[in-house]
């Protein structure tokens, strides 16, 4: 009998049986703990949700106040008891409010990491390694070809492209929660103080970040004004949009758009080429290969479970390091958009 038999895989997601609570469930459940606000981890319809106060705010902004029976904010570092388990949240460094879920039961500690990264991010608290017996990780970039370059180098590429193309709008595809705000904060930190132009879908979450003390500087709607007219005045400006908008009719309102995409997938040139991206920016909010291996080792877990992504290579590499690993094959979790 495994030490972790009290964790049960169900169609809804992973159930912590002695606590009666699901972790990031993909279907409505009575009680859920949600690691962060991305749609594949935070679905609407749960009767009660435990999450960090920031994540609660994000859930409310995205789904409305009625989408959940009750949102129960739990600040990181505070422990609560649920049935026979003790539960607390610790920062995961993925996006604003993102947390690892730490669960203790009968002397065994399990960490559900949600999504995480180890690079500095001015918009959220950094990942804290929590020593544990079982570490549950994702493996979106679970192949050794994925090594994210220093973010400064990618930012430099963006600024150079802008300088070299004064007649074109530089349109950066970026996921709306996390990537967008991180990109903006990084640009500001690099001294870029011109207004940034945003697709309408990105504005509400930026406002929410501002309310939580993340300074984003001047942001303007990219395609406000007369419908159907090309906004010539945005030539030479940086515009941010959800990745799907790069190939959408929306982009026709920008002058000679130069499509860029900020995503860990951009590491593979052919993949960028297939998507028609002219300026690939390798910027990700997920752990790259080295960070996955580092984290799995650092927490000292005897066993690692992998929720989704390229599990095979990670299982193999952890095996070589003496860590028993197995894929959980949980359905419903998407890979990084873009």
């Amino acid at each position: 009998m495994s030490r972790f038999a009290w964790l049960e895989r169900r169609a809804e997601g992973l159930l912590v049986r002695p606590g009666g609570v699901f972790l990031d469930p993909v279907r409505p459940v009575p009680l859920a703990v949600v690691s962060h606000g991305h749609a594949d981890h935070a679905r609407p319809g749960h009767r009660e949700v435990i999450a960090t106060p920031e994540t609660c705010a994000i859930l409310e902004a995205r789904y409305g106040a009625d989408a959940f029976g009750r949102l129960r904010p739990l600040p990181t570092g505070e422990t609560i008891e649920l049935g026979e388990v003790r539960l607390r949240l610790e920062p995961a460094g993925h996006v604003l409010g993102s947390a690892q879920i730490v669960i203790e039961h009968e002397g065994t500690r399990v960490v559900w990491s949600g999504d995480y990264k180890r690079r500095p991010d001015p918009t959220c608290a950094p990942f804290t390694p929590v020593p544990c017996d079982l570490f549950v990780t994702e493996a979106t970039f679970g192949l050794p070809v994925f090594r994210h370059p220093p973010v400064e180098q990618e930012l430099e590429k963006l600024l150079r492209a802008r300088a070299a193309n004064p007649d074109r709008a530089i349109v950066v595809g970026a996921y709306g929660l996390g990537k967008t705000q991180r990109l903006i904060a990084l640009l500001r930190a690099a001294g870029y103080d011109r207004p940034l132009y945003l697709h309408g879908a990105l504005l509400p979450l930026c406002a929410l970040y501002e309310e939580h003390g993340v300074r984003l500087g001047p942001l303007l709607p990219a395609t406000a004004g007369e419908r159907g007219r090309v906004r010539r005045e945005l030539a030479g400006e940086i515009v941010l949009a959800p990745p799907s908008a790069l190939a959408d009719r929306w982009i026709r309102r920008l002058p000679d758009p130069l499509p860029a995409l900020a995503s860990g997938w951009m590491r593979v040139k052919q993949r960028a080429k297939q998507r028609g991206v002219e300026l690939p920016l390798v910027i990700s909010d997920h752990a790259d290969w080295d960070e996955l291996l580092l984290s799995c080792g650092e927490v000292g877990a005897e066993e690692v479970w992998i929720t989704h992504g390229r599990e095979e290579a990670l299982v193999h590499a952890l095996g070589l390091r003496g860590i028993r690993a197995r894929p959980l094959a949980l359905a419903g979790y998407e890979e990084e958009t873009g």
Partner: protein
Amino acid sequence: MQAFAELLERLLHCPQRTGKLTLLRDYLYRTPDPDRGWALAALVGTLDFPHAKPGLVRALLAERTDPVLFAWSYDYVGDLAETAALLWPEPAARRPPPRLSEVVDRLASTPKTKLPAFLADLLDRLDATGRWALLKLVTGGLRVGVSAGLVREALAGLGGVDPARVEELWHAQAPPYDALFAWLEGRGPEPAGGAELAFRPFMLAHPLEELDLAAIAAAPEDWAVEWKWDGIRVQLAAVPAGVRLYSRGGEEIGASFPELVETARMHGLHAVLDGELVVLREAAIGSFNDLQQRLNRKEPSARMLATYPVGLLVYDLLAEGSEDLRPLPFTARRARLEALVTSLSCSRLRLSPLLTPAPPDALDRLRREPPHPAVEGLVLKRRSSPYLAGRVKGHWWKWKRDPFTADLVLLYAQRGHGKRSSFYSDYTFGAWREGSEGTELVPVAKAYSGYTDEELTRLDRWIREHTIERYGPVRAVEPALVFEIGFEGIQRSSRHKSGIALRFPRVLEVRWDKPAIEADRLETLEALLAPSDAARSPGSGGIGRPLAQPA
């Protein structure tokens, strides 16, 4: 090397020709000799390192990385050079990167046994993009969407000279092209043209339009009329010491057509000929479908050579001996050509006949009903014109037979690239047939040109409103919109579900008015297939005996 790597990466991601040209020009402007010359050689594919091959890269990877992780990674990335570049372990501290010229010199000169160590050392000195570029060089084929023509245009831009001049000189120069750069930058004299074996830019014909016809009708005797052959245009340059065969783009393609090179050598040809390369069996001229068997084969097998032998239908003489004939009028060149070809008396080099001058309506009939599958219309040449580089208006006209047409139904649409990336601009069309479950549409052609920007906007809207299913980037639409598709020919194809493939399909008209049920049937298209024997039997089409008598 780092600058070269960056150039390659940016070229790869840049969809527009003008953008690529700017990237190339900037690179040439900023990069010192001899690195930029080697970069050009790499781009046009003239670099070859006999010992540096993909196997070497695999072996190195096996040494440095875990084979299981390599296998998963290769499976995901799908490209050896890129997989290896990304997988290569980063050294703790990186030494300065090598120069491109150092890489090229040593890849060429390092003995086979020492090559793995040298390559590993280079990889340790480069970042991921640098490693990718290096491994692309080693594994061959950069595939960044740059043609030799584009490279020469960028060079011409560097020196502010006519691209045609660069084209002429280019083939006589060897990498890293020091003399060429010196001339372009005003530091040296114009390099010797490699003279007799050099590529001469082709004289090209303009499509004939209604208005031009009036000028021809006014003085038909001023115009020479020839068949427009459906082969590939080539230039055969021969001196006693060597033979070169150039394609329209100025690529040397002699290796693909050894029988032609051998013929020129055997006859001691000392001339530059312009003509059409076709399959030529004794008296019979093969169709383009025949010729296709020989295209894109670097070294044709003996069987290929026997089954699809090629020859040249010659129609111009650019040089004879060391005399440049291009300034002479057409009539004078033609007379010299006829004398030369007659004296050679060689079955592989045949004169393309001159047709009898005729009034426009007679010519119109000829071009509409070409007598042979290998003829796709007429070419009209002004008798007084010299041989000019490029497409200069008013001298040569091409008057093609009308394209074949079919009314086909739009089945799938896909987004385009570059400026069209938000438009559904690439289409798949189907024709009706009786399938096992009744009447169905089977895909027969793809097209992504022939409509105006306004039409594209309307089509894009229609497609979005009539999508019935999505497969990744592709949308299946209601089979309700008919297009008139023009194409140049049709051939059997085992690779297509319909069993046929159309040549150069493009949109002629969007038939917003036509019900889909009235679109064409597959049998109608199949009826256009030339019976394979008819295209090959000698004389049956009468090409050996032109319909109009030679002048």
